[in-house]
Structure formats: C-alpha cells, structure tokens
Amino acid sequence: MSDPYFLSILIFSPLVGMIVLAFMPKDVKAPLRTVGFLATLLPLILALIAFVRFNADMGELQFVTSVPWIEIGDPEVTNSSLYIYYALGVDGLSLLLILLTTIITALAAAASVKIQKEIKGYYLLFLLLEVGMLGVFASQNLLLFFVFFEMTLVPTYFLIAKWGYREREKAANMFLIYNGLGSAVMLIAFIVLFTQTGTMNIEKLQAIDFSRLPSTVPLAHSAFRYGLLFALIVAFAVKLPIFPLHSWMLRVHAEAPVPTVMIHSGILLKIGAYGLIRFCMGFFPEAFADFAYGLAILGLINLLYGAFIAFRQSDFKLVLAYSSVSHMGIVLLGLAALNTAGIQGAVFQVISHGMISAMLFFMVGVFYERTHTTELRNISGLAKSMPRTSGLLLAAGLASLGLPGMSGFISEFMAFLGLFERLPVLAAIGTLGIIVTAVYVLRAVMKITFGKTKEEHQSVADLRLVELLPAAVMIGVIILIGVYPAVLADSLHLAIDSVLVGIGG
C-alpha cells in the first residue's frame, strides 16, 4: 500500500501506448488498431492489481502520493507560502470508478474497430482521454482534479467533432460550451475554497468543519457555504446531467461515434456523480443535507422526465440518451436519501449504468454497422438474422429496466430502500419511473428484435467473435454485480461511511 509511484504509473500508463502509436506510420490500419486496443489493457491490468491489493478494511486513502507541485507566494516576502500538491490516492469509491474506467475504455477500444478514418489520431486522443479520466478519479487535490477534468474535455471534443455522425460539429460545440461553463463555475468554486482555507487537498478540506472557522472568514457563514455548494452542484449538474441542463448530452449521444458514447455515458457522466459525492457532500455535509429535498425533487424530475420522453423517441440512440437522463435521476434520489443504503445505491447506479449503457451502445454499434440505421421504424425482427445480437440487446435492455439478477436492480433497489426511509412519498412517486422504464425499454428493444424481419435485413451477419467477447464481458460483469453485489459493496462501505460521518446520518 505504500508504493508511492503505483497510482502515477497507473494513470499515465496509457501514455506507453501513445508513444508507440506516435512512432507508427499513419496508414497501417490493423496494427494501429491492435496497438490501440492493447494499450488499454495495460491500465486495465494495473487497475485489477490495484483492486486486488486494495485493503478494503482500511479507512484511509491508499496508494498515496503527495509531492509539492506549485508554490504560491514567496516565503522571503510573505513569510509563508501556499503549496499545491501533486496528490494522488484512492479510497473504495475512487478505486471502483478507476476499475470501471479501465474496463469500459478497453471495451470501447475493442468497439473502435469500426472507426475507419485517421485511426492513429483517433487512438492517440482516445488514450489521452483515458489518462484524463483516470486522473480525475485518483486526484486528491482540487487543482489536479481540475487539470485532469479539463484533460477529458479536449480529446472528447475532437473525438465527437471529427469521428461523429452528421451533425457532429454542432454536438461537439454544444458539449464544449456546456462543459466549459460547468468547469469554469467549478474552478471559481475551487479557487474560493483555496483562498479561504489555504489548501486544495481534498482530504483536508473534507476534515475541516467550515462552521467552526473564525467568523472573519466568509466561509464560516452559512449563506456563503450555500452559495459555494450551489456553484459546485451546478458544475456537476451539467456533467451528470440534471434537468434542465441535459440538452447537450442528448446531442452527444446521438452524434458521437459509438465508442466515444460508450465512454461518455459510461464514465464521463459519472464524473458528475463522483463530484457530487466527493465535493458537494464531502465538503458541505450540513448544507447538502439542507439541499437534499430539492435534489430529491430534481432527481424525481430527471427520472420521470427522461423516462416519459424516452417513450416517444424514434431514434434508438435518443431513447438511450433519455434513458441516461432517467437513470441519473436515480443517482440523485439515492444521494438525497442521505443514508447508507441510498448513497450505496447511487454509487452502484453509477457503476451499473456505466456498464449497461456501454453495453447498449456497443450493441447499437453492432447493428448500426450492418443496418446503417438506428431509427426504430426502419428496423424490426433482427432476432431472425442476428439471434445473438438480439439476445444480448434484450439482456442489456432487461438489465437497464432493473431486472433482478443484474446490476441495475441492485442499485435501484438500494436507492429506493434508502429514499423510502427518508422521503417515502417522493419515493413512491419515483417507483412510477420503474414502470415507465419498463415501457420504453421494451418498446424500443422489442421494436428492434421482435416482429417481422425487414427484407433488407434478412441476411445480415450475426456477431463476430471480436464483438461477442466484449459483449460477453459486459453482460458477465452486469450479472456478477447483480448476483453477488458484495463484490463492490465490500470495498465501498468505508468510503460511504466517511461521507456519511459529516452528515451525521
């Protein structure tokens, strides 16, 4: 556990692949793809090692690195100076998200075989994106977090704008503007925190009880804290996304290339949830508790709003996009419950939705490649020509609607379990979402797989082995979590306890 370089190596391990790729010629497609895929295995292996070596019974951060990075102020002049550290470390929550990142990135790299143009540039950006995502979850310093956070935006922008579908530039711009604004708000909040407390270390900030600060510090006043918390919530609400800040995400889902959407909906959205737990809840527990009711209502709106709209969409990708809005509502509901069950449910939902939506989009990629459409009215009866694809799509759909035995159920169950303790009426309204989810998922999935097979899709080929393997891995993980959730819960409970200590619940 005391290996100080381990996390840094893990985070920057995709660079190995980038360096190799950089020295390869541009036009050798197959080798570029192979290297690009293999490069994502290295972080995956390291993350698995970290998961195995992680001590779930230790409450502190593990694999900690802390090196002074930026020095602000001249000790000769002002007598004291502020340091910003290059600080890394993981607890159960971060570790699971890192593991999720590496898994989904590897799967998305496998799904990237369908990318045809500029493969070299594609994989370079792809791997850079992975560095950013890993860094986000491992950072223990706000500035470092911010740097990695921004690092995810740039490659994503280019991945969307260059390799996306028809309206890719518009989608990319929308993505950048929304997220840029969000991260600007976040940066302001971080800087305010820094100037008020003199530290950017996440753990230290969590330990500070702001209400005990001397009253000369603005942060000691609750109104100021509310404002700061609100800014942070807005910043992460854009990312999650919370209604009404979700428009950008729909476009990205519809226009971005499939592997990018897998990463985007599988991991990037989860940074929003991670931020809400780590920063909003972690730094301002009491203020967050006061906001909880409002967040629960927002969560309810997300859940029902997304579900009802998904019901009418004619493009399968948009159904999935609204379904993400809806599922993120469950994350909010879980967090708003302010108890172990709820937060654990929210974290499970983050991970489970990551796997499920990655899988669904993977399947979209599979049949889009063959049918060249994702419009629901243009596809039906794929079960005839593509039985395996249809079976897996149906399985992923069932997972998405929360079928027991799969991961989606566990998270929904725990989130509602938590919420029913605190806000039973809202929770009861929320269960309506479970029904509507079933309605829209079945409508869309059955439209694709059931019914009469269209003429032109009579003889499309079923899954190839390279497609079957990633899909099998995903459904395997989804079922594993669903059948034996303790595999995640065991490494999580201390992290959740530490968040809850502040709330006192």
Binding site: M174, F243, P244, H246, S247, Y305, F308, I309, F311, R312, Q313, N339, T340, A341, Q344, G381, A383, K384, L398, L403, P404, G405, F409, I410, F413, M414, F416, L417, F420, E421, P424, A427, A428, T431, L432, I434, I435, V436, A438, V439, L442, R443, M446, T449, F450, G451, K452, T453, Y484, P485, A486, A489, D490, H493, I496, D497
Partner: protein, 622 residues
Amino acid sequence: MVDYAWLVPLFPLLSFVILLFFGQRWRSGAAYTGVILTFLSFVVAVTVLIDQIGGSTAAVTFDWLRIGDTVLSMGFAVQPLNALMLALVAFVSFLVQLYSKGYMAEDPRIGIFFAYLGLFTFSMLALVISPNLLQFYIFWELVGVCSFLLIGFYYYKEEAKAAAKKAFIVTRIGDVALFIGMILLFWQAGSFAFADIFEAVEAGNIAPGMVTLTAILIFVGAVGKSGQFPLHTWLPDAMEGPTPVSALIHAATMVAAGVYLVALMYPLYLASSAAMLTVAIVGGFTAIFAASIGLVQRDVKRVLAYSTVSQLGYMMLALGVGGYVAGVFHLMTHAFFKALLFLAAGSVIHAVNTQDIEKMGGLWKKLRFTGPLFLAGALAISGFPLLSGFFSKDEIFVATLGAGRWILFAIALIAAFFTAFYMFRLFFLIFQGEARHEEKDVYESPGSMLVPMIVLGVCAVLGGYVNTAWFGTFLADWFGSSTNSLGIDESGGSPGVTIIATVVVLGGIYLAWLIYGKRAISREWLSGRVPWVHKVLYRKYYVDEGYHHTIVWFTSGFSRFLGFFDRFFVNGLVELSAVLVRAVGGMVRRLQSGQVQTYGTVVLIGFVVVILIMAVTGGYFQ
C-alpha cells in the same frame, strides 16, 4: 433431505446454462437435457416433501450484501407450504418439459425453448424456497421475465410481441406495488426475513394502518401476477405463447405464485381485516367476472385462460375469507387439472392446427386418449363429485359461508355454474358433433405428449383425496401441525353446501349438454335475446379498450407533451441564449474596425478613464 432443498432449483439452472450455450446445436438432445435435469430436480423435491411431512424443516441463510450496519441475507427455507409447492412445481415442470419434447419437436428454436423453460423452472423453484421477501421478489421478477420471454417465443408474430410486452408491463405494475410494500415492511420490521416480519406483526410493532397498507400493496403484486381484476388483461393475451408454456407458467405455476404469496404472508393479512376483505372481494369478483367472459370466447386457449383467472379468483377468495387450507388445496388441484386441460388442448391444436373451437368438433373418435383426458380435466375443474376439484371447491364454499360472507358465497356459486357450463361448452364443441375442421389427417399425439397427460389425469382425478371431509383431512392436519399460529380453523364438511354445489355444477353441465351436445336449445336462444350482453362478454367488458383510451392514451399523450416541452422549451432556452450571445456579438463586432490605431485610441481612453476613477476614489476600489 430438507437440507438439500437448494439442489432442487440448481438442476434446472444447470439445464438453462448448458442449453444457452449448446442448445441450438443439439435439438432433441436439448429436450433430453431439460427433461432429465428437471426429473432429477423433481426426485429431490419429492424426497424433500416426504422428509418435511416427517416433520423436519430447514432454514439456511448466508450474508449477501452489507448496507451499512444492515446485512441482507439469502438462503432457503423449507416449511409445509413451500415443500408442497416445491414438489408441485417440479412435478408439473417435469411433465410439461416431457410434453414439450413432442410438441416442440419441429420447432427450429427448440434449444432456446428448453433453455427458457429451465430458467423458468429454476426461478420458480428458487422463489418457492425463499426465506425472505427480497429473495422472493428477485425470483418473482425472474419468473416474470421468463414468462415474457416464452410468451414472445414466436417473436415474429406481432400478436406474440404485443402480448409479451403487455404481460411484462402489466405485471410490473403489480410488482412495483410489491416492491413498495416490501421496502415499507423492511423499515418497519428491520428485516426482509419472513420470520422477522411476522414476529414484528404479531408483537404489534407495526402500526395497524401500516399493516393494512403493506398487506394491500403486496396483494396488488399478487393481483398482477395472478391475473386478478383489474390487472388480468395480460393473462388471456399470454396464450400467444406455445401451449406447453401456457400450461406450465400461465396455468399451473407462475400465476399461482400470487396466491402463494398471499398464503405465505398470511400472518400479515390476519392482522388486518380490511386487507382480508379486499383479498376476498377482489378474488370473488374476479372469479365471476372472468368466468362470465369465458362463456362466450371462441379460442380454446382463451377460454382456458379466463378459466384460470377465475379459478385463481377462487383461491384468493378462499384466502380472503380465512380458508388458508382451502386456498392452497385448490391451488394444488388446479395445478393438476388446469395443466392437464392445457396439455390436452395443446394436443387438440397439434392435431387440427387451429385454436378456434368453432372449427373443431367430432374429435372424440379420432383422439382416443386426448378426449377422455380432457373430459377428466373438465369434470375435475367443474367440481364434479369425487374428483379433485370437487373437494377443493367445496372447501372454499364452506370457508366462505363459515366467514359469513353470503354475497361472496352466492357469487362463488354462480361462478361455479359458469365454470361447469363453459368447460362443457368447450368439451362438446371440440369432441362432439360433426367435424368442422379442414385438417384431413387427424392423428393422436405421440407418446411423449400423452404420458404427461395421463399422469396429470390421474392426479386430477385422485388429487383431491389428500384433504376430504370423509377420508381424512391430511393436508389441513399437516399445515395445522406446523403453522398453528395461522389460526387455521377448518370446519370440515357441510353436507348442505356440498349438495347445493353439486346441484349447481350438474345444472351447468346439463345446460351445456342441452345447448351444445343434444342441441335441444338453439345456441342463439340466449345470445339472441340479449345481444348486447353477448357482445360485452365477447369483448371482455371492454377493459382493454378502456385501458387503451385512458391510461395508455394519457401516458403517450403526456410523453408527447414532454417531448415537445423538451424540444421547444428546454432546448429553446438553450437556442435562445445562443441567439442572444450572437446578437450581442453582432453589435459589438461593429467596434472591431480592424484598425490598430482605433484600438490604440480606445486603449488610451480606457486607461485615462481608469486613472481618473482612481484619482477620484483615491486609490483602489474600497
């Protein structure tokens, strides 16, 4: 042996996993795999049952998931009720799989069919031995999804697709109620385990209002699964699935799970008379409601489906009036004769390739085995004296009357009359009269289909003797011995009730014979007098249409509205802000002359202004 009860669901699971990977290649091998593994599971289930009758129980749990300080566990438990269910489910599963081997032999997807059956049997058996509500709920949903998969087995048929979707969604409405009830109970009792919940209920730790609320919520779950009014609409549509599936899932096992759930949670219901009354009324109403629809339907499987709904209503009625044993007893006998009827109907369909009873007729001589077996089933379900249905229905009547529910008793009697009538309408139309079908070569089904039917026929005839007022109330004694706390008070037989019921049943059969057998009365005699009644019944009281024009219409209208809202309002705001920014930019860009000197002048002026402000305010902004 009870300690090995966990083996029972394991065999079908194994069958599912094996067939999922290899089923498509094996074909008839797939059928054998399924049949043999289910048979193993049946053997273990029987030994468990025997052992349990001997008095042993089992309760094994292990930690599954930790949520803070709460530990959720999984495991299995064996008591009288679920030992009986275990054996019953394994038994019917085995027979239906054997039957399917013949029935589905021609289907190219037989491998996946048996895989689904394996998954279903696994889920159903695991549901039965669940020691806590959470595990119960998990498998409850899994059986639902298996039902969905099997209804939609003929995925290319639009009707099958719609029926599968409907089944899933309608039962899910019930499931969500169960979900809420389960979680509310958890926060009241602090545990999902049945034993803990009952303890809390008996100790009075749960407020009476909460007991009623949770009991009714759980009952709504049962209503969804057991096709009770108003969530019954999915069950008749579910007949789009292959016939063995209808026999196994939509007659004998899964749909009975709702009744089983209420029986399982009986202490909760006993604590709330309002909940009991609700159960009784919904059950009684469903019994007559569905039976009246069954009178006029033309599709043989649909008649049987409405009959199932009606019989499940009987069971609910029995439970609701305190007839615990009567309800469970009827559940058991119903499993036998309804599975038999479906399998026999399947055999008929297999022979004439139609499900329309108007296109059958005169099959008695051609189907030498199916005919008598169907007759046995029809007699049993009607409650013909000395057959299984007679005893179990009798108990329900006695219990209803014993509870003083006169109206419900009358309703049950009328429903019994309807049952006898529509069953024999079916029988006479299918087997008597001249042949109206187009099929030239009508053959009896192969042995693998006949053997299960014969076994079920024997059970349907003799199954009632486990609990009779005359030959000993074995079932009641057995349940009573271990679950005294349920307050089971079976009053035994009541000759008056028995005689009335018998007369009603014979009357129903006689009327059916007059109309469809002897044709002494014209078929139009009744329907011609009150055509609108016939129409309402034929259109199933317009419930589907009603739902379509209210709930479905509202949902889709609402989501369309939200879609517009999202596109034009939320997205409109975004576009508006973009337009605003662009407009402001358009104004400001006029200042951008491109002339460096102009810029320099502006800089200079700005600088001077700043200096001036600072001069006036005296330094920094204060």
